[in-house]
């Protein structure tokens, strides 16, 4: 458990790490060529490292605040996002319908995927056989609609 998930509580070092990560993502959004990005990232790392040994917490908090402010003033308006991660263009683009929906398909629709449904019916029969072997026949009164 890297950080405490409730209350948003984070230690100082976690805050710094999160800032560092966000700064790097921001740099990535600005510098799309890999070599240039690496160069800038190293420079940024050096800026972080310079104050890494800061023991005075008042100064460290102040530095963190300044860092956040600088990031806020330079954040890219169009951040670079991976397509399928939250915020990306293809995030949750296709909804996975529950499995049982397939059972309610129209036969004409089912006929579009013959192999799949043949196998599916087979599996269902096997599952029912397994179920009946284990728990016995279902009560006919339970059936509805």
């Amino acid at each position: 458990m890297a950080n405490v998930p409730f209350l948003g509580l984070k230690t100082h070092s976690q805050k710094v790490c999160s800032l560092y990560k966000r700064v790097l993502r921001n740099l990535e959004a600005f510098y799309d060529r890999r070599n240039v990005y690496r160069y800038q990232a190293v420079l940024m790392r050096a800026r972080f490292d310079k104050n890494a040994k800061e023991t005075d917490m008042r100064k460290a908090v102040e530095l963190l605040r300044q860092g956040e402010e600088e990031l806020f003033s330079q954040i890219h308006p169009l951040p670079k996002k991976f397509a399928t991660s939250p915020g990306g263009v293809a995030y949750e683009r296709v909804v996975q319908s529950p499995d049982w929906v397939l059972d309610y398909w129209h036969p004409l629709e089912k006929a579009q995927y013959p192999e799949y449904f043949k196998k599916r019916e087979q599996r269902k029969k096997e599952f029912m056989a397994m179920w009946e072997k284990e728990y016995g026949k279902p009560d006919p009164k339970d059936q509805h609609h």
Partner: protein
């Protein structure tokens, strides 16, 4: 095979209709022939409600282009949407879209225009929200509601047109031009067209609508739907000439062109860049239209439809192969992997820029020459030429990012260029985007435009294009100090980058007031005063009095009886005593 055949069948018939339309276009063009069909629904009080169909060379040619693009796009989506479960729904929606577009194109009657116009809005809404994520939900809402403003204005136009006794505007546009009702109507028509064609106050929806699947973007948001507004204004062209509001339209569309060109340079989403370039071209069409040259706008509309559809389809191929990644920062050097697609992409890009003898050259160069021939002020001239340069600018930036720069994709990738369905369908449009410019130039201008300019003015287009090209090259390789430069003018940059904050203004800027007002009304009127003065209030009053009378009747009747008896006795005694 049943599943994919719907694509082929629709492709076949649309292509056939497209060819038929082309031959009819030739026939109508030679003989200068017009067919006007009317079907009267009802006639009363000297008003007649008719469904009318107008077939002239303009509508036939536009229909031919729409059908051609849609046929190709449907064929393309056979491969693009091949892993889609609801392919049938998708194709049917696209067909419905084509149907309403055709209805819009062939109708010269404002009520039957509404038929197609509303249909376009609704079907495009369905297509934008085709993907199930929140992004497309929001984009669809923005699209549909922006378009709905136009629908509402058309509804109002229907009323104002009733003053003339019929809704066939073609018959009295010339004669009633200076009527004040006509002035009002023309303003409304212009606003309606501006919503559909995404001119400046309403232009937020067009880049947002890129949440739709890419074939839809190729068909709907580049070539057909967005040009519906332009087409409407072309039809109303006679009415609009020499109106004051047209000057405002000229200004707004010029600004749209400029704004879209600038933001396309900041944008990183592949489809949004193309959408913004569409916006810029729409601004070009609108502005040339607002100077009264409808044929030129129509010409550019057609050629633009060709190469923009092709551009979107190439983008679709790239997105498809990159696993839905649309950010051009992930791309680079893909011409090594997908040469054919890159070829098509470059052709369409160049046609867009107006490289000589491709489709875009004929229309765009003609427009710019006519602008130079016109009596115009310096500001508009400036907007035109800056935007032309900007077109070159973002096209080259895009090409650089995609083709020339270093390979920059994720570590696992699978780029291949052997999807023949896509390539074949793009081939048709590629040929069209090379040849359609000169072809149409010969066909549709029976009366050639005469252009006679000093050499430097004539070469101005080339100058700004070359300058834009240079800038595009430079910005795509502006690497090391980019962030410093960006943050130096951070506010300005974000202003330009986010389309002059228009997406934010037209969503958060508006909905808060109305939603808040609705909630206030619900709380204070429906659950507050109305309830207080009718249902609940009446109930409270009745309860109070019932309790009060109960007090007399039920619980204490003995006491009250005794009390009143004593009271009356006292009064009686007092009366006795007095007497």
């Amino acid at each position: 095979m049943f599943k994919n055949s719907i694509c082929f069948v629709s492709f076949f018939f649309l292509f056939l209709f497209s060819l038929i339309n082309f031959f009819f276009f030739l026939f109508f063009m030679i003989y200068n022939y017009v067919i006007f069909l009317e079907w009267e629904l009802i006639s009363f009080s000297s008003m007649s409600l008719v469904m009318s169909i107008l077939l002239d060379w303009m509508s036939l040619l536009f229909m031919m282009f729409v059908l051609l693009i849609s046929s190709v796009v449907i064929y393309y989506s056979k491969s693009y949407m091949s892993s889609e479960m609801n392919l049938n729904r998708f194709i049917m929606l696209v067909l419905l879209f084509v149907f309403s577009m055709v209805l819009l194109i062939i109708s010269p009657n404002i009520i039957s225009i509404l038929l197609g116009w509303d249909g376009l809005g609704l079907v495009s809404y369905c297509l934008v929200i085709y993907y199930q994520n929140i992004k497309s939900y929001n984009a669809g809402m923005l699209t549909a509601l922006s378009n709905r403003i136009g629908d509402v204005f058309i509804l109002m136009v229907i009323f104002w047109m009733m003053n003339y006794g019929s809704w066939n505007y073609v018959f009295y546009m010339d004669f009633m031009k200076n009527d004040y009702v006509m002035e009002l109507m023309s303003i409304m028509i212009i606003i309606a067209a501006m919503t559909k064609s995404a001119q400046i106050p309403f232009s937020a929806w067009l880049p947002a609508a890129m949440a739709a699947p890419t074939p839809v973007s190729a068909l709907v948001h580049s070539s057909t739907l967005v040009t519906a507004g332009v087409y409407l204004l072309i039809r109303f062209n006679v009415l609009l000439l020499d109106k004051f509001f047209l000057k405002i339209l000229l200004l707004l569309s010029g600004l749209t062109m400029f704004m879209a060109g600038i933001s396309a340079n900041y944008e990183f989403d592949l489809k949004k860049i193309i959408a913004l370039s569409t916006l810029s071209q729409l601004g070009l069409m609108m502005s040339i239209l607002s100077m009264g040259m409808a044929e030129l706008a129509f010409f550019h509309l057609l050629t633009h439809a060709m190469f923009k559809a092709l551009l979107f389809m190439c983008a679709g191929v790239i997105i498809h192969m990159m696993n839905d990644i649309q950010d051009i920062r992930f791309m680079g050097g893909i011409s090594n992997f997908i040469p054919y697609t890159s070829l098509y992409m470059n052709i369409s890009n160049m046609a867009l820029c107006g490289i000589p003898f491709l489709a875009g050259f004929y229309s765009k160069d003609l427009i710019l020459d006519m602008v130079m021939m016109k009596n115009l002020n310096f500001f508009v001239f400036f907007l035109y030429f800056i935007s032309t340069g900007l077109t070159m600018f973002y096209s080259f930036r895009l090409s650089m990012y995609l083709m020339i720069n270093d390979f920059n994709l994720l570590s696992v990738y699978n780029l291949y260029d052997e999807d023949l369905v896509m390539l074949k369908s793009m081939f048709v449009l590629m040929m069209m985007s090379i040849f359609s410019g000169s072809m149409l130039m010969w066909f549709i201008f029976s009366y050639p435009y005469v252009i006679y300019l000093p050499i430097n003015l004539k070469l101005m287009v080339i100058y700004v294009s070359l300058f834009g090209m240079l800038m595009g090259y430079m910005i795509s390789s502006m690497e090391i100090y980019l962030m410093n430069k960006f943050s130096y003018i951070y506010n300005l940059s974000s202003f330009l980058c986010l389309m002059w904050f228009m997406p934010n203004l037209s969503t958060y800027g508006l909905n808060y007031y109305f939603l808040n007002m609705g909630q206030m009304m619900l709380k204070k009127i429906d659950m507050g005063w109305s309830e207080f003065y009718s249902g609940q209030g009446m109930f409270m009053i009745m309860k109070k009095y019932t309790i009060f009378y109960n007090f007399f009747q039920m619980n204490n009747n003995f006491n009250i009886y005794l009390f009143s008896f004593v009271l009356w006795m006292i009064i009686y005694l007092m009366i006795l005593m007095v007497m």
